[in-house]
Point group: C2
Chain length 281, copies 2
């Protein structure tokens, strides 16, 4: 085992099962893992068998001490968290002096906020790493279909169009997700999130604003320069369910850059629904 | 009266009151006006005092004859129409030979479909003109506020960001409308339409995904190369109501390029709600 593999890792866990998968991947690789479960987002009980402690959103000082005691430098942030208001954060003494920077970042949108959080962690001597570095096996590692359903000609054109559109959007602080159908973008993710965007496509299908089922594609890829350490695009079983409800043909994800949560279940559901999941270069 | 001003005009009317305003503007300018009210979209009774006849979506031959009888060459298409399925169109003999072109265009999204319709009309020897050419007074004619509320510093930055984003989107067949708030795009219009997009912003406000009321701006402008003859961006009283419900500060429209339906009522509602409507260069 290499020295790097044996270095401790702190998983700062938001909601969902993805933090557990990342923590397990690191533990399997031989790293001592310490889980910091964020109050209100992560359920500590989920991490049975791993060392876990609960922290509030403002407890930077407390977390820093816990990591110093364990000699842990690497930190990975993973899982869902509802964008808090500044007033939702109860800062401890460790965080208090960073509040002005944080308050400024809050006005700058998600990108600005996440960059500020990374900067604050790094000022503490911690190193923020991407979940994809810790557990690259959670992404698709080579181009091609993940399940049995394959993207054909028209879907391929939609995928190219979607990647092109995500590229054009990349200098804006906006989502990494679009739906392209019959040559045109029918939905672009803003602040509402992927699930809400897919619900909208399903609604347009019901109201006949979109008429041709089984032709659209959900395309998800990080934008250029995306802060992959704290904001990794992710799909999972719920994505497949929503894609099927929206009458889409499939999902395209960028190779190596999109996490697939609960992969076996995600692929099983996709196969069952006749929906493709295709990793693209 | 100039010769051009006296030439007849056919207003192909979809839903809403905008067709009536355009028809009245042309009539006031001294042009003989013939209204072709689209079945299922326009109510012929609305056009009292003007010459009006009802046509189905597929009655190109019938319309052509009606125009030839009157010596009318100029045609303006205006008002809402739900994007029909190809099977919703009952073609008459005049349209039938254009069906292959139309069927191809249907697969190309709105831009392709509208361009194909313009091409078919022009093949008949008709001339498709923009509602903004017929009634330029329906757009804001110079930069500045339309009502009493004025956009301030932060809103101006949002407006610049929104116009920049619409520019980046302009080579895609997608909406002409975004909401920018606190430095980031929070909603981008796809196939759902402006009203649905604003309803989404209101929903994100209710669920606290967007927290700071009175800072966002709806920006509406045609994309580069937009087919302005058949697809003019429009705002009206309903837009103001939805903008207020969404907790936005105001609306920015591109000077001379966005129709303001029922302008007096639109501005009155905006003043009442404390919402600005600003025409920008």
């Amino acid at each position: 085992m290499s020295r790097a593999a044996a270095a401790g890792l702190c998983v700062i866990a938001g909601s969902g099962v993805l933090p557990l998968h990342v923590a397990r991947a690191a533990a399997t690789a031989g790293r001592p893992v310490f889980v910091a479960a964020l109050s209100g987002s992560a359920d500590p009980a989920l991490f049975e068998g791993l060392e876990v402690e609960q922290f509030g959103l403002g407890q930077l000082g407390g977390l820093k001490q816990a990591l110093a005691r364990r000699g842990v430098v690497d930190v990975v942030m993973i899982g869902g968290i509802v964008r808090p208001g500044l007033s939702d954060i109860r800062p401890d003494l460790g965080l208090v002096r960073h509040l002005p920077a944080l308050a400024g970042a809050f006005r700058k949108g998600d990108d600005g906020l996440l960059s500020a959080i990374v900067a604050i962690f790094e000022e503490q001597g911690l190193r923020v790493v991407s979940a994809l570095d810790v557990a690259p096996e959670l992404a698709a590692r080579e181009p091609g279909p993940l399940g049995r359903v394959v993207a054909e000609g028209q879907a391929r054109a939609a995928i190219d169009g979607g990647l092109d559109l995500i590229g054009a959007l990349s200098r804006f602080d906006v989502g990494q997700c679009v739906v392209v159908e019959e040559g045109r973008p029918v939905a672009i993710e803003g602040a509402e999130g992927t699930d809400a965007m897919l619900a909208r496509v399903a609604e347009m299908r019901r109201t006949k604003r979109l008429t041709r089922e089984g032709r659209g594609v959900l395309i998800k890829a990080p934008k250029l320069g995306q802060e992959m350490r704290v904001d990794v695009p992710t799909i999972g079983p719920a994505t497949v369910r929503h894609v099927a409800d929206a009458g889409l043909a499939g999902i395209a994800i960028r190779v190596g850059q999109v996490l697939v949560a609960e992969r076996a279940e995600t692929v099983r559901l996709a196969d069952q629904a006749g929906v493709f999941i295709e990793a693209v270069p």
